[in-house]
Amino acid sequence: MRLSSILTCMAGIGHKRSWRWRCPTLAALALLLACSGGCGGQAEPAGVVSVWAHAGRAVERNTLEQQVAEYNARSRTDRVKLTFIPEGSYNGQVQAAALAGDLPDVLEFDGPYLYTYVWQGRLRPLDALLPETLRDGLLPSIIAQGTYRGHLYSVGTFDSGLGLWGDRRALEQAGVRIPKGPADAWTSSEFDNVLAALAARDPDGAVLDLKLNYPDEWFTYAFSPLIESAGGDLIDRNAYRTAEGVLNGPAAVRAMRRIQGWFRSGYVDPNLDDAAFVQRRVALAWGGHWNYPRYHKALGNDLVLLPLPRFGPRMVTGEGSWSWGITRRCRRPEAAARFLRYLLQPDQVLAISEANGGVPATRAAIARSPLYGPHSPLRLFAEQLREGYAVPRPRTPAYPTISAAFAQAFRAVRNGVAPKRALDRAVQMIDRDIRDNHGYPDVAVTGGR
């Protein structure tokens, strides 16, 4: 039923009174149906595998585009169509697309968002689609990140590294001790002294870049390890039912108060142009593997990778990153899995790792990586993963809410709100969400279909 029929319908008005009401309604329905079929969820032509990835740094995007182009050139049966989605509204986009029936075949998502997608029934298990040999070659952290309720739902081609980038020259000039490994990390009071020493020699006193310009997920990833190091956590990981006493307990409050102290003392650069570290305005930059290419280019041999400061007996850092899953909507999961297997080949894993500095996801690739050998610049990241300093973000469908709540609390603390108050509000938000969702029962999670 298209435009012509609508017009005929309208032209018939006046001949029969009853048509006056039926026609507009029919016309409306026709319009909606016509549009929902052709204009909404685009049905992919056979042979096309649609893929969504987040719009990250240029070098990551370019590498991925290159990989897709190579795959398309090589494959005789499949063609991959890649779309980049802005990182800031990524989860919102996925949820909206799911509602519209518009999800792609292969979906990239930030690691801890996996659990909510699985809970919503969006993803296919990968156990049957990826050979066991391939899975055995993956890093344990990658498998752990991608597993939920006993099935593997996602694989990443790299894992993340979180640390403190330092300007060796500035650090030596200030006479501070440079930690040699994760066991050697600065304590929180030592870190305060380091900041003070650096600030004394800095024209504007801002010596620390916390990447305040990054999207919200960064704050949970980058700063919840400090809470965990102090003895708190984002949520009680025994039952995943509440964050009370854990996120707003004395340990967490203490940690946030320390962080607030950095802002109060004026140590933190707002980083409006994302260039505080490369322009050497600051001597220390909270950051991760993805900063390596640019920082290495700017600072050369002056670049040094340090562990985060420890707020308790043991240093804690973050892990987990973007990974790939196959959606239930995908009508040709074998084709999608073929693409994933391609991405996990050692050459491809190495290509991504070189582009973004991440820890290669397969042991085969790590062995060949120039960045992750025993004397290579990024070995700290691999060491953190190996020795258990890296703690994953909570594995629960409540994670998006936890992340939003923590990011909000961090912003509040940054702006001078009392840490206890900010964290209390975060806990309230998290607990309420878990209650509203009845504790996230296994409604749609099924395996092996």
């Binding site: 549009c35 079929g37 204009c39 969504w52 989605i85 909206a96 509602l99 519209a100 142009d273 260039a275």
Partner: protein
Amino acid sequence: MNAATRQRRNGKPPVPGGRWHTRAFSYLFVFASAALFVAPILFMLVGSLKPDARVLAEAGGWHAFWPGSGASGQNYTDVFHRVPFARYLVNSLWINGLIVALGLPVNAFAGYALARLRWRGRELALAAVLAILVIPFEAIAVPLFYELTALGMRDSYTVQVIPFIANPLSIYLFYSFFLGLPRELEEAARVDGAGVLRTFLTIVVPNAKAAFASVTIVTFLFYWGMYLWPLLVTGGPSVRPLPLGIATFYTLPPLQWGDILAFGMMMVAPVLVIFVIFQRWFVRGVAATGLKG
């Protein structure tokens, strides 16, 4: 109080040769105000020509308004390499064009029916239009997003166009205008036996050019800057319009201000140029909405 000042205050133009220092003061004021209004635009223009690092560094001094030695069009080419700007522009033009083009007949017909035709329910319909006029789009953005997404309409031109075709403000503008048209023309046509539709198309519409121009301009200006709706309903860059384009460009690493300002210049320059050329129509159109409303 002399003649010139008196004349100045009464809405009539004073004869030149009025008190010079009151005029000088007026000039000064106008100049200063114009400078304040234009400063950000000039800053944008100049910044788009500078290398990225200097944009922020020089923002605090007079150099913010002077490109200096390193000026080049590099930022402009960078924009095209980093994002599909041309696509965004085409999308904006297409979406906006459709909204305006489809909206004109739909709203003009309704406005005429309300203004000139006698039918049962006319008073009710008019009241309904005025009532709906009050509803800001943002109040229904969320439920509309849900309604259309649940119907599968997403990430397309259609979903960015059809919600905005029927527009209560346009209907009201047409209604006001048609009310003011002299009835003799239409009555003459009716006596000659022309039907309502024929009268409308052949007599009323050609005499309503001003209304069509006003509505076109106001509708265009209004929807050109749409950001909330595309944010909710589009995903990748394929149907993304310019206002969302610059917002996503701003969040795309690395953050290079020179490129962002270049994007902004390219985004606004065509409309600015059109405005300057057709400003009399713009002003007339805008003023008409205010005087009629």
